[in-house]
């Protein structure tokens, strides 16, 4: 098993992030609490540099290296860039929160970077074991992050639930992979595809494998009925961790779905299309309806995530380039919007006050018109109101499934989006038409103000000029 040195070139981003994560880990041991900011700044610099490296790889040829376990293609470059940028925002949002609660420790950033590494491996996997490796690296980092605030019983409970259910889901995924290995004799994505297309009939083992793999995927996405962990973990975890779980990993999950379903099991498309249809309809229905009954905004956004996942899956159901690029656009823009939504909770919170109740948004316009406007943009984007980016995300997904003659599915999606619009617009109503419950002025640190404004304006800006990102999403799939 000789590997030429040049084969490592496509891994340069991964190697860089890993090295930096280790360096930060070591440095963090030696810096005192007052100078913890060093770890923070180094993490941000790492992400920024990594984003630059992967953005430059966007035009590179597709390369499969390390004995077919790792692929570097334009799609991976685009998704990694988005993951870096969104994680960058997540880290910036988190600083103020962690500092005011006395948990501004290096672990958060180091674990975050390892989770990012896991996502990168997932995005670039070309072998079922690589996928599993990336998934576990991501998940284990996230479990630890949820429990990161050790003194909080709520967080520990959430971490425990997440861990146990996650282990169950991993087990199922692994079981599905093993069956696939049994059926085809390989773990390499290209070889499995070849084997599947060579056998002219699909046996029961293929369907079994597919079911287990779809369950593993659905858990990662948080699609109904494998969504139970989502509200509890979102609610229980410290808000910066919720912010992290709710944003970038959705992009990684999309990549995982694409690698597994389209690239590996493309031959079984008719079956997984049906399975995903069930998951999508259930997610849209349950997510949107139950969100209405929530009074805690973190839980509300958790159910909102479930419904958005339903929409994202619709794009996969179309099972063609148009659908995949729509789903990719949806994943990236949703991650951006969700970052802003959870970021706003951080922005409004202060020591001893989490601002995670809907009532805490009452009269925000009187306290700060600017941030009320920013939140309005985010809520409108989640509801899919033009000219925000959420409108185009929904539009392109709906277009994709209408083009494959699944109009009824589009009708279902629109129907539940209308129900969903209620709870987003309720937030707007609370902000603009209700009296504030507290007269306490907002104290927001400058970095938080900047990242919040940039985030919301990006949501608006991408909505006004959606063409470029749409084009990139379509281009990386063709390449």
């Amino acid at each position: 098993m000789n590997i030429a040195l040049s084969e490592f070139a496509p891994l340069s981003t991964e190697i860089f992030v890993l090295t930096m994560a280790c360096i930060i880990l070591i440095i963090d041991v030696f810096v005192s609490d007052e100078r913890r900011i060093i770890s923070y700044v180094l993490s941000l610099a790492t992400l920024l540099a990594a984003a630059l490296i992967s953005w430059n790889m966007l035009d590179n040829e597709t390369a499969v290296v390390l004995n077919g376990t790792f692929v570097s293609d334009p799609m991976a470059a685009l998704l990694k860039t988005s993951i870096f940028l969104i994680t960058f925002g997540v880290f910036m949002y988190s600083r103020a929160y962690l500092v005011t609660r006395g948990i501004f420790r290096g672990e958060y950033y180091v674990l975050g970077l390892f989770a990012v590494l896991g996502m990168m491996v997932l995005v670039s996997a070309h072998n079922l074991l690589t996928i599993y490796l990336g998934l576990e690296l991501l998940s284990l980092s996230l479990y630890a992050l949820v429990a990161f605030n050790r003194d909080s019983a709520q967080a520990s409970e959430a971490a425990m639930k997440y861990f146990v259910l996650g282990a169950l889901a991993s087990g199922m995924l692994l079981y599905g992979i093993s069956m696939l290995y049994g059926a085809t004799g390989s773990l390499d994505i290209a070889e499995i595809t070849a084997a599947l297309s060579a056998s002219d009939e699909m046996g029961m083992i293929h369907i079994f494998a597919l079911c287990f793999i779809v369950v593993g995927l659905a858990f990662k996405f948080g699609a109904v009925p494998f969504h139970m962990w989502v509200p509890d973990v979102y609610h229980g975890a410290p808000t910066p961790v919720t912010l992290f779980i709710g944003s970038a990993p959705k992009i990684a999950a999309f990549a995982m779905a694409l690698r597994l379903l389209e690239q590996t099991l493309g031959g079984l498309a008719a079956d997984w299309q049906d399975m995903l249809t069930i998951l999508a309809v259930l997610s849209l229905a349950i997510g949107n309806v139950i969100a209405i009954a929530q009074t805690n905004i973190k839980r509300m956004l958790a159910y909102s995530t479930i419904s958005h996942v339903g929409f994202l899956i619709l794009g996969l159901i179309a099972a063609n380039a148009e659908g995949y690029s729509a789903a990719m656009f949806y994943a990236i823009t949703y991650a951006l919007t969700a970052t802003g939504g959870f970021g706003m909770i951080i922005l409004l919170s202060r020591s001893g006050f989490e601002a995670d109740q809907l009532d805490d948004f009452k009269g925000l316009n009187e306290r700060s018109p600017w941030f009320a406007l920013m939140m309005l943009i985010l809520m409108f984007s989640m509801a899919g109101v033009p000219p925000t980016v959420g409108f185009y995300a929904k539009l392109s997904v709906l277009q994709a499934i209408i083009h494959v003659d699944m109009v009824w599915l589009a009708v279902v999606a629109v129907f539940f989006s209308i129900i969903g619009a209620f709870y987003y617009i309720r937030v707007v109503k609370l902000m603009y038409f209700d009296e504030p419950e507290t007269e306490e002025p907002l104290h927001v640190s400058t970095d938080l103000q900047i990242v919040m404004s940039l985030n919301s304006l990006a949501v608006l800006g991408l909505g006004v000029f959606p063409g470029a990102l749409l084009a990139v999403c379509a281009a990386v799939l063709v390449a």
């Binding site: 259910l165 369907i207 494998f226 139970m228 509200p231 008719a270 049906d274 399975m275 069930i278």
Partner: protein
């Protein structure tokens, strides 16, 4: 050049956003500085554009700068069509707007909503510029609605006054009627031409001349006539033509700078501009042109008459505006588009001047607007007096003033028109000249001459207003006199060649142009006609009745009691609308509300479905029990169901 075109509307928008969102932070001076700078940038750039077209003879620019979306091959875009018409309009709009901005510093000096006001008027400037610079119907409609929105906000600017709320609601509702027609017109264009782009539509229009379609089965309608009349209904709302004129006099509840900017000089002329822009369509339908002509003539004459009996200084000018808009509409109907636009321009200057002068009087009178309480202000406010005199002379069409050239051209044009209704229209605009002179100088004499009739306290404090008020007056007085001399290129020259389209059979201005030999001979020619003498007679009558022998006014009012009551009640148009439309709508609404809304929709559909959703939500959330083993169990169940379904039910295996 594209950047210049973009900067023209965006500079005021920037000012509006800054003054609106950060008004508190930047303070009063900051708000007026940033908005005035924005509009000043627009004005200067407009001059640059105007110079390019006027001096350098630039080619028209037509391109889109941003594609919003493409749906079924139809492009929804933001784009600019810059030609001679646009260049003229943006210069007039930004100039008047700039003057009003400066004036506002003085007029709104003590108002608590100072920053909000500046934000609104800058936003208005942006919307109006987008409207006139548009190269497609969608953007036109957006601009159209945006100016309507700002107008609504500004009429109700003093939102604690019940009359202001009533007025802005009324303006909003009446404009909805017009906008509904406008939207139908745009919809019909979209249906017929499958495009939103001016150039595409205009190019395809001649082929559609004889096209017809059925709205009701069995009745054939000429497509272009329907389109043009729908579009014109939009113009009737925005440009306040009978019977959709009722909102404009009430709009005077807004602050005076708004009356000048929006409800006299710019927004209300949007309808006129739109019809001129659509001349390639209107030229293809004589029916539509006749409709335009007759509506304009009715407005010009009958609205002028109402001005004679009003006592509120702003309302007199408001009715005058209605009447003048009628003149412009008549010009459009007679295919004398250039004359209509020319009158639009001169009117923008002298009417803005008159309004701002009225505002100056109102400031001095401590916000008393009743002209019966004024008199003799000439001594106290010399600049306001003199500029008002210039404005009034321009308005009534005194030779050598701007209004003379534009109005006389219209009268001549109608005289030469052969369309159905042109005969009536000619007499209407001719009598209108006398009426115009009568109400203008009635107001002028009552305000500036005769004995002071205000109370002691007010008179002691009478003095000329500060320079921020008087300078705009002077700056507007200049074009009020001189802009008439642009008649050479604008009306009889080739300024509008290739921009405004006139069918050969309708070319009335061409006929007049054959006998046109410069501004001076135009005056001499006019002296041979009746218009100038009618204006003189109007002034003389006003002088006799209101200065020489005041008792005669009451006498006439007594003698013609019926007519007087009719006029004072504004032909009962408001009462009619309130009783029939508002009352009728309320009754229908109440019925629908009781049966349809309260019972079916609210009771069953909305509350019912909301209750169902709420109930489902509260039940299903019970599943989210918090117990780990419940969650794990649901995952296993999910997996089993998937397996069961796809392995046994779907029967794909082995297929």
């Amino acid at each position: 050049m594209e950047n210049v075109y973009l900067a023209i509307p965006l500079a005021p928008l920037f000012g509006a956003i800054v003054a609106g969102l950060f008004g508190k932070q930047i303070g009063r001076a900051g708000a007026h500085t940033v908005t005035i700078l924005g509009v000043a940038v627009s004005f200067v750039l407009s001059l640059v554009v105007l110079k390019q077209f006027a001096v350098d003879g630039a080619d028209p620019y037509n391109a889109s700068v941003y594609t919003w979306m493409v749906s079924d091959g139809v492009r929804f875009e933001i784009g600019f069509l810059i030609d001679n018409l646009t260049a003229l309009m943006i210069t007039v709009v930004s100039f008047v707007s700039l003057m009003v901005h400066i004036y506002t510093i003085g007029y709104m000096h003590d108002d608590p909503g100072y920053q909000r006001f500046f934000s609104y008027i800058a936003l208005f400037t942006f919307s109006m510029l987008m409207l006139v610079m548009s190269n497609n119907f969608l953007q036109l409609f957006f601009g159209w609605e945006a100016v309507g929105l700002v107008s609504y906000l500004l009429i109700g600017f003093w939102y604690k006054r019940p009359t202001a709320i009533y007025a802005n609601l009324k303006a909003f509702l009446v404009n909805r009627v017009g906008d509904f027609g406008f939207l139908l017109g745009i919809g019909a264009i979209y249906m017929a031409f499958n495009s939103m782009d001016y150039a595409t539509v205009f190019a395809a229009a001649p082929a559609m001349e004889s096209a017809s379609f059925e709205i009701f089965s069995g009745v054939e309608w000429s497509l272009l006539t329907v389109i043009c009349i729908f579009l014109f209904i939009g113009a009737m709302g925005k440009s306040a033509q009978v019977p959709l004129h009722v909102w404009l006099p009430d709009s005077m509840e807004g602050p005076t700078p708004i009356s000048a900017l929006i409800h006299a000089a710019t927004m209300v002329t949007a309808g006129i501009f739109m019809v001129a822009r659509m001349s390639p369509l209107f030229e293809l339908s004589e029916t539509a042109l006749s409709f335009v002509l007759v509506i304009g003539a009715i407005t010009a004459l009958f609205m002028g008459l109402l001005g004679v009996v009003q006592n509120d200084i702003k309302r007199v000018i408001a009715y005058s505006t209605l009447s003048q808009l009628g003149y412009m509409t008549v010009a459009l109907g007679a295919s004398a588009y250039a004359a209509g636009i020319f009158h639009l321009m001169t009117h923008a200057f002298f009417k803005a001047l008159l309004f701002l002068a009225a505002g100056s009087v109102i400031i001095a009178m401590h916000h008393d607007q009743d002209i019966r309480n004024m008199g003799g202000l000439r001594k106290y406010m010399p600049i306001t007096w003199f500029t008002s005199l210039i404005g009034s002379l321009a308005l009534i069409g005194t030779p050598f003033f701007s209004g003379f050239y534009s109005k006389d051209t219209i009268i001549e044009a109608v005289h030469h028109s052969h369309l159905a209704g042109a005969g009536i229209a000619y007499w209407a605009v001719l009598i209108g000249v006398f009426i115009t002179a009568l109400y203008s100088f009635r107001m002028y004499f009552l305000v500036f001459h005769g004995k002071p009739r205000m109370d002691e306290h007010t008179r002691e404090h009478l003095r000329e207003t500060p320079w921020v008020v008087t300078v705009p007056l002077i700056l507007l007085a200049i074009p009020s006199v001189l802009s008439g001399y642009l008649i050479d290129p604008v009306v009889f020259g080739d300024w509008f060649n290739g921009v405004l389209h006139v069918a050969p059979g309708h070319d009335v201005l061409g006929v007049i142009g054959e006998h046109y030999h410069g501004p001076l001979s135009f005056v001499l020619h006019a002296l041979a006609g009746p218009a100038v003498y009618l204006a003189g007679a109007g002034v003389a009558t006003a002088w006799y009745i209101y200065m020489k022998n005041p008792a005669i006014a009451d006498n006439i009012a007594q003698r013609f009691r019926g007519l007087y009551t009719l006029l004072v009640n504004k032909y009962y148009a408001d009462d009619f609308n309130e009783a029939v439309f508002a009352g009728g709508a309320r009754n229908v609404g109440r019925l629908l509300w009781r049966v349809g809304d309260a019972l079916i929709i609210d009771g069953l559909i909305v509350n019912g479905s909301a209750r169902v959703v709420g109930w489902v939500a509260s039940v299903v959330r019970q599943v989210q029990s918090g117990y780990l083993y419940h969650y794990a169990f649901s995952m296993i169940i999910g997996l089993l169901l998937l397996l069961f379904w796809f392995v046994f039910i779907a029967q794909r295996v082995g297929a």
